[in-house]
């Protein structure tokens, strides 16, 4: 090994080969475990709970919009302040406590060691600490709804002076709790991200070269790097905003020499790469699933990898397109228009390559494949509508309208929800050792996808008609008072979509106990996680596997089987 010959080597690996076989109590096995799979489950279930809370919030405020002023069943009358608080926390929860834990933390934790043939993450206890901080941050956020003054209602961007000064936002405790929760969540993901990056860089199975790493891992790693490199200024900004709120400094207070525009920059310098932080892992999950169910090699692995890197790099140059009309110098808008349209090139190319992967395949439309394909179909709409907003001229009209709202739901819904369902339906057999019910899965799929489009296409139309975001009752605006039918359609579709999630939850719990046993490799896939038992024991493999080839060697000519697992030595028949 490379570190041989120095005094600062780690403990020799030999003596801990037989760890983890003694009986563990429930607490140490499921709550304070350092096993990466258990931590992944913790992230996933926390994410699901937070998604239900976020979904409930969307139910409350969509009902208010469709039937203004009426009491919402299960919530009550939505007041103006509550409405603001609901939309603010819906956004915050769905991005920071649903998309990030489910896509990066849950799948990252679960897949990285299994896919690179390692027994755990490199820092298991830091991993556990990261989850615990994350859990605390989630609890703080939920507590913030119940403190005097109510939850923070200054939008998820929390622009000061509104967020900095309790005289303006009227939620003295809610705003601070919100800020602390978000900052803690960043710290949790910094710890997690360092763990992911180090694990992937250092702990790959012998023989696994750079281009043998499954695409989903590359995407998670690029996302972690993006997160780490972009979140710093916002952490500094969060400290400054916290000081403004609590100590009484004036970093963002124009009356005392501060500048509110600085926060916008600090926020969006992180906020835009953040979009790619959650997008890339979802793209990676989709890549795995498409290859498995099309029985195809990924179309030009290297080019996809390069487009992912290019997207990551360019994403640092585009942040101010969120601020075109928010007070930046108009000359700067031209620069950011150009960079924003440049970033459409690698992303479009990546989508083309995914579509090209289908060419020549043998496509089976299983539930995970349906989710993966629908990701491409829906994300395409999200991508192309972004061009309207990245072009400064048309953004003057669309900025902060429902067009923007529909646009980013067409990106974030595929990312967070479709990406999650694709991943969970695909890896459920590995996680729990049983198959999910395919018919129920398909019913859930079609119900969710169709309802989803019926929610947001009306909102595109409303946005094009000039309806602005974050307004609790459009009857106050004479030009917007009409078109109520569209709002009712969107809300009804939301209700349908929420109801269909019950099918998923039922399917999940039912399959957990009654599903068909899955065996090691139900999908006949190549990547290393499928060579472990389902579910993998602590330590994953009795003997860690070696890697001999790339992850997507499907349908190789001259071989009997149409798949060729990464751990099978060359020139031998694949072991079932």
């Amino acid at each position: 090994m490379a570190e041989a010959g120095t005094v600062d080597t780690h403990d020799a690996p030999a003596h801990d080969a037989e760890h983890g076989h003694h009986e563990q109590s429930f607490l140490s096995k499921y709550i304070f475990s350092t096993d990466h799979k258990i931590i992944a489950m913790q992230y996933m279930f926390t994410g699901i709970v937070m998604a239900l809370i976020g979904g409930y919030m969307s139910y409350a405020f969509r009902m208010q919009l469709a039937f203004p002023g009426e009491s919402v069943p299960g919530y009550g009358v939505v007041s103006q302040g509550e409405y603001n608080s609901l939309v603010t926390n819906h956004g915050t929860i769905m991005i920071f406590w649903v998309a990030m834990p489910m896509l990066i933390a849950a799948f990252g934790n679960y897949l990285i060691p299994l896919m690179i043939g390692a027994d755990d993450m490199v820092f298991p206890r830091i991993n556990r600490l990261s989850y615990q901080i994350f859990l605390i941050s989630a609890i703080i956020l939920i507590v913030s709804f119940f403190v005097p003054g109510g939850g923070f209602g200054g939008a998820w961007t929390s622009y000061p002076p509104l967020s900095a000064n309790a005289e303006y936002n009227l939620t003295p405790y809610g705003a601070t709790f919100w800020l602390v929760a978000v900052a803690l969540e960043f710290v949790a993901f910094l710890l997690g991200g360092i763990n992911f990056i180090t694990t992937l860089m250092n702990s790959r199975a012998p023989g696994m070269r750079m281009h043998d790493i499954p695409m989903v891992l590359w995407m998670i790693i690029i996302a972690s790097i993006l997160f780490m490199a972009s979140v710093g200024p916002l952490i500094a900004g969060a400290v400054m905003l916290f000081m403004d709120q609590v100590v009484g400094t004036g970093f963002f207070d124009p009356d005392r020499g501060g500048d509110p525009v600085l926060w916008q920059h600090l926020f969006w310098f992180f906020g835009h790469p953040e979009v790619y932080v959650v997008l890339l892992p979802a793209m990676g999950i989709v890549a795995e699933i498409i290859c498995t169910f099309a029985r195809k090699k990924l179309f030009n692995y290297k080019l996809i990898l390069y487009t992912a890197f290019a997207t990551g790099i360019i994403s640092f140059f585009v942040w101010a397109h969120h601020q075109f009309v928010a007070g930046i110098d108009p000359r700067m808008a031209n620069v950011f228009t150009i960079t924003t349209l440049i970033i459409s090139i690698p992303i479009a190319e990546m989508l083309f390559l995914y579509i090209a992967t289908l060419y020549g395949g043998s496509i089976r439309l299983t539930t995970p494949m349906l989710w993966a394909l629908s990701f491409i179909a829906e994300f395409l709409i999200g991508g192309i509508t972004g061009i309207f907003l990245g072009a400064s001229g048309s953004d003057i009209y669309f900025h902060d309208t429902y067009f923007v709202l529909a646009h980013f739901h067409y990106t974030f819904f595929p990312i967070a929800i479709i990406g999650f369902f694709a991943g969970i339906t695909y890896w459920f057999p590995k996680m729990f050792g049983r198959m999910m019910n395919d018919s129920l899965g398909k019913i859930h799929f079609w119900g969710t996808i169709i309802a989803f489009n019926f929610i947001f296409i009306p909102l595109f139309i409303l946005g094009a008609a000039g309806q602005h975001r974050r307004i609790y009752n459009f009857q106050n605006f004479p030009d917007l008072a009409g078109m109520q039918d569209l709002r009712v359609i969107a809300t009804s579709a939301l209700l349908v979509m929420l109801v269909f999630q019950a099918i998923f939850l039922f399917n999940f719990v039912y399959s957990l106990f009654k599903g068909k046993p899955a065996g090691k490799n139900p999908w006949k896939a190549n990547t290393l996680e499928w060579t472990a038992d389902s579910p993998p024991p602590h330590g994953n493999w009795p003997e860690l596997p070696n890697c001999y080839r790339g992850p997507y060697e499907y349908s190789v000519p001259g071989r009997e089987d149409d798949y060729w697992p990464q751990d099978v030595p060359p020139d031998t028949a694949p072991a079932e």
Binding site: E3, L190, P233, I235
Partner: protein, 193 residues
Amino acid sequence: MSTMTRPIATTRSATGIPTGKLAVWWVIGSEIVIFGGLLASYVMFRLGHPEWAEYASHTNTWFGGANTFVLLTSSLFAVLAHHAAEHGDGKTAAKWLLGTCAGGLVFLCIKAVEWTGEIQHGYTITANGFWSFYYTAAGIHALHVIAGCIIMLIIAKQAWKGQELQRVELIGIYWHFVDIVWIFLFPLLYIAK
């Protein structure tokens, strides 16, 4: 702490850099952007507000200089600890680490005296933008010093017993980074007047 067995994953090193060290480098990478964001904001305000030069003239260069001296010296101790650890001498390494730690404590004491005097003169964190940045930037830095000291004590204890000697280098790298941050804070807050 060292009772827990380490995963095999931790002992692999595909990059040629030991895992712990690689992680420390990434930690430092993420710290650069945290301090970078704060200091970039400070520099923008500083260049945009000519009146801040007058505010800055009330900082005491001698306190800042003394603290730079203390941190540079503690950095020397940290690297000497690493040197000892490299040669397998845990006890000497632990002693140097304690010296580094003492340097951190002296740093914090000087800071305390300095801040007390400044606050008594009315230069509080809310006095104006310069002092807000002054206390926030130096405060975040001081938190890093405190965290470094605590971790260093734990590592010194392990090193004394001859365990986990590679950690001496890791905390050293972190400590040098904290030192470098101060090297930039010093001219930004004290010298540029």
